[in-house]
């Protein structure tokens, strides 16, 4: 998407916020009474907004306030008016009032840019904690005017995505955010704003989508190798435990074996193609156990399990997951993986 425009000049803005006044407040300022009041106000304000995945913007949920350039324009108009009075310039009055009239019309145009639009949340994909996730938003407008310069962002964020919405058409934008913690949180509060056409007013809305997004634990970057397989419970040939953690059941390559079943290490040693023996594999069961991860840190345990799940899925193995109070039978495939990761997210 396009970045917000800084100015006309070829050199980008340096050291100046491109859209002022959107710095996020953090807990570090909580002792500051002004910030405290601000934070409380915002909490109260946000709690009033119903959770919805579709929102239609109207008079009730579109807000408008003059911007700093707006006040500058007001000051300019005052100076123009005083000059016109002092020099008795009737043409000066005309200029002042035409500018003022255009600014008033601009205010209505600005408010009308957001009003009447419908925003739909596109169900967000699951993501990992600490990695950035994107929310898709579908903006639809069935009025007969093009809406220019609409910016969307996560509330309190400084990253804006700008778009135009064609008349009686729609646009889709993607807003990125970075979930910090695993779980199934609600999609962060979003905000849309515009300063079109004159930049003298900021018109914005605050939207709390109801959708939840799956945030899996962040996978450990360099996890230890997968734990050794356990013999299938009640299976006859259950004695083979190998310290290496590798499954050694192999057979000669047969035409049609998937490439990921080929044991490349053996191929390198011997000069023939060797495949894993599915029956051999199935004799052993890979259990990813919360109790046996080799670490005591609770979050690290989950991260490691997450990384193992991904690894095992990638290797095309069956794997089961044991969590306190929950056990997922071994299995394979996208649905199984998602099941495991969701269990990890909520653990």
């Amino acid at each position: 998407m396009n970045p917000p425009r800084s100015a006309f000049g070829p050199s980008p803005a340096r050291g100046r916020p491109q859209w002022p006044g959107k710095a996020g407040s953090t807990g570090a300022h909580a002792w500051n009474p002004v910030v405290w009041v601000k934070v409380r106000f915002r909490q109260w304000f946000e709690s009033r907004i119903p959770l919805r995945d579709t929102t239609t913007l109207n008079q009730r949920n579109v807000y408008i306030l003059p911007t700093r350039p707006g006040f500058m324009l007001g000051a300019t108009l005052a100076v123009l008016l005083i000059s016109s009075i002092n020099y008795q310039l009737n043409l000066g009055y005309l200029l002042t009032f035409l500018l003022a009239g255009s600014a008033v019309v601009g205010m209505h145009v600005c408010h009308g840019t957001l009003r009447g639009m419908t925003m739909n949340l596109i169900a967000p994909d699951a993501c990992f904690a600490g990695a950035s996730a994107t929310i898709g938003i579908h903006i639809h407008c069935n009025r007969r005017s093009t809406r220019y310069g609409i910016g969307l962002s996560v509330l309190e964020s400084v990253h804006w995505v700008w778009t135009d919405v064609p008349a009686q058409g729609s646009a889709t934008v993607h807003v990125a955010f970075k979930p910090e913690r695993r779980g199934q949180p609600v999609v962060p509060t979003l905000t849309a704003e515009t300063r079109f056409p004159l930049g003298t007013f900021r018109v914005w809305t605050v939207w709390r989508p109801a959708a939840r997004v799956w945030v899996y634990p962040a996978p450990e970057a360099f996890p230890p190798p997968l734990p050794p397989g356990e013999p299938r419970a009640g299976g006859a040939a259950s004695a083979q435990r190998q310290s290496s953690g590798e499954f050694e059941g192999v057979r000669a390559y047969q035409r049609g074996d998937p490439l990921k079943l080929v044991v490349w290490k053996k191929v390198a040693k011997a000069d023939e193609l060797v495949s894993r023996d599915a029956q051999q594999v199935q004799r052993m069961e890979l259990w990813l156990d919360h109790a046996h991860t080799g670490t005591s840190s609770p979050e690290l345990k989950l991260s490691r399990l997450c990384a193992w799940v991904l690894q095992a899925e990638k290797m095309g193995m069956d794997y089961g997951l044991r969590l306190p109070g929950q056990e997922i039978r071994p299995g394979r495939g996208e649905a199984h993986k998602r099941h495991c990761l969701e269990a990890l997210a909520l653990a």
Partner: protein
Amino acid sequence: MNFLPARLSNLPRDSRDTLFLLMVIGWVILPQVGNLPLWCSLLAGGVLWWRGWLAWTARPLPSRWWLATLLVLTMGATLLTHGTLLGRDAGVTLIVVLLTLKTLELRARRDAFVVFFLSFFTMLTNFFFSQSLLTAAAMLIALLGLLTALVNTHMPVGKPPLMQAAKTAGWMALLGAPIMAVLFVLFPRLAPLWGIPGDGMTGRSGLSANMQVGTIASLALDDSIAMRVRFEGQRPRQSDLYFRGPVLSTFDGREWRPLRSGFPSRMQLPAELQTTGPAIRYQVTLEPNNRPWLLVLDAAATRPVLPGFDMVMTPDLQWMADRPIADIVRYSAQSHVEFRHGPMRPAAGLQDFIDLPPGFNPRTLAFAAELRRDPRYATAKTPELVDAVMDRLRTGGYGYTLDPGVYGQNTADEFWFDRKEGFCEHIASSFVILMRALDIPARIVTGYQGGEVNAVDGFWIVRQRDAHAWAEVWVAGQGWVRVDPTSAVSPSRTGSFQRLQAPQGAFTSALIGVVSPAFALNLRAMWDAMNNGWNQWVLNYTQGKQLDLLKNIGFESPGWEDLGYLLIGIIVAVSLLGAAWTLWERSRHDPWLRLLEQAARRLQKSGLKLPPNSGPRQMARLLLDCYGPTDVQARAVHDWLLRLEQFRYAPASADQQAPRLVTLQRELNQISWPQ
């Protein structure tokens, strides 16, 4: 050279936007060039070119040191040029400098806003120098350009065509125009909040307080309009249209001046004006002349009505305001063409009007003495002597010319005996000198004579070229009597509508040769009428006119507070209307949903239990379940509901006539509902 357009359309957006803004700024500054110091115009042009080149070639902006240096230099230059950094002219120079230098610092959005707002103010400074229709048109274009640039700045996506922003800006200005009109009409016209620095009013043409031979020559060729007059009722004869300006009575050999103008009027001869005959009422719209003179038709006994000004009549019948006319004013006045003024019998003060400087015009003096010795005039009174001189002017081979050449020291001698031609100034001056040499009190009156009617709007137009000088001679028993020696030399100058030469203003000279002169004259009349309308309705819209408007609306004795109340009332009314519209818009539904809702309400009224948000098909099924499939009325409603569904959800096909919403509405109204 189709390289340039291709390059233009391929410019990156930043460069294109910057170039456009620079063009608009150039357009804003351009009308000022004549009023700015030369260095300032050159600097502004240079900086704009430089900035445009930087944008064109996508080079980085100069460092702030450059800007600081330039700023200090220009401040110094302004101080040197104007002697101050304050005041109007210095202020205009500084604003133009700041605006152009700021374009070199267009880095962030905030800088762009500063440029916009400085440009708006620069536009206003144009009006210090001209408020004409052309200036207004140029500045309207500039305003649209600035709004376009401002709108374009707020279209962050992609590279939208400038026309798109221009369209939005145009619409905003168009919709803003009614707001402008209401504010313009009703915003109370206040007196200046503090004193206006009096500089900068130099260089406007008009009559002069003094008369040196040759000064009126330039005026006589000036086609600009001095005043417009609208007569109530019959217009006086052309030969009676003498608009009185300064009266010049003191002569030093080179220059005519008013008589002891600094003296209080009680030390001068009283005016003693007596008027007879019918009064002529008229309104004058006077172009600014930066002089306190109010030009009135000879002679106005009563005070012209001009709100905001205090005025007195001088002993020589001139009406003076208490301050210079720096803007277009309109006043109504009342004059009598038949009048007498001045002392009826010889008075001591009349001595002043026969004074002549020694050592000038010896041949004229000798000629006067010769006339006096002439037995024909031995016992002649003043009228006979005046007639004799007028006869000489008529028959002595004297001519009227606009190009008499440069006169020497003895202007009267040269006119009477050598050159025998000149224009009104030479003729009047020579005539008065001769009168005074004959011991007849005489003086020069300057002003405007004649004019022409504008056929489009009926106003009487007096131009600077109608500036004139004539004489007044004192006659015992009659007081001061107007004598126009120029009419003796060139009767057409004062007697008829004919002008000496075809009028050629800047506007018409461009047209003549392309179109027929008559058409050009018509065009010119229309142009003058437009200008006049502009002056009457826009530039001359004063508090008086505002109060007149209130009176017409029905206020008993309006004051400026009433204007404020009216303005606030209109704002409140419009806001309430807006609020009502908002409410209406909120309740406005999709017309299809409204139809469905009407049907549901109707069905519920007849006892049907409908779940909330039921669709037409569901409603139709429930209806049939309730009344049975044989009930005719229920069947009709059922079919209607299915047609309603079809309207919304079935794709319209070409062969099948799709039901229309109006039809559905009509059918709904005609349906008889099951009980």
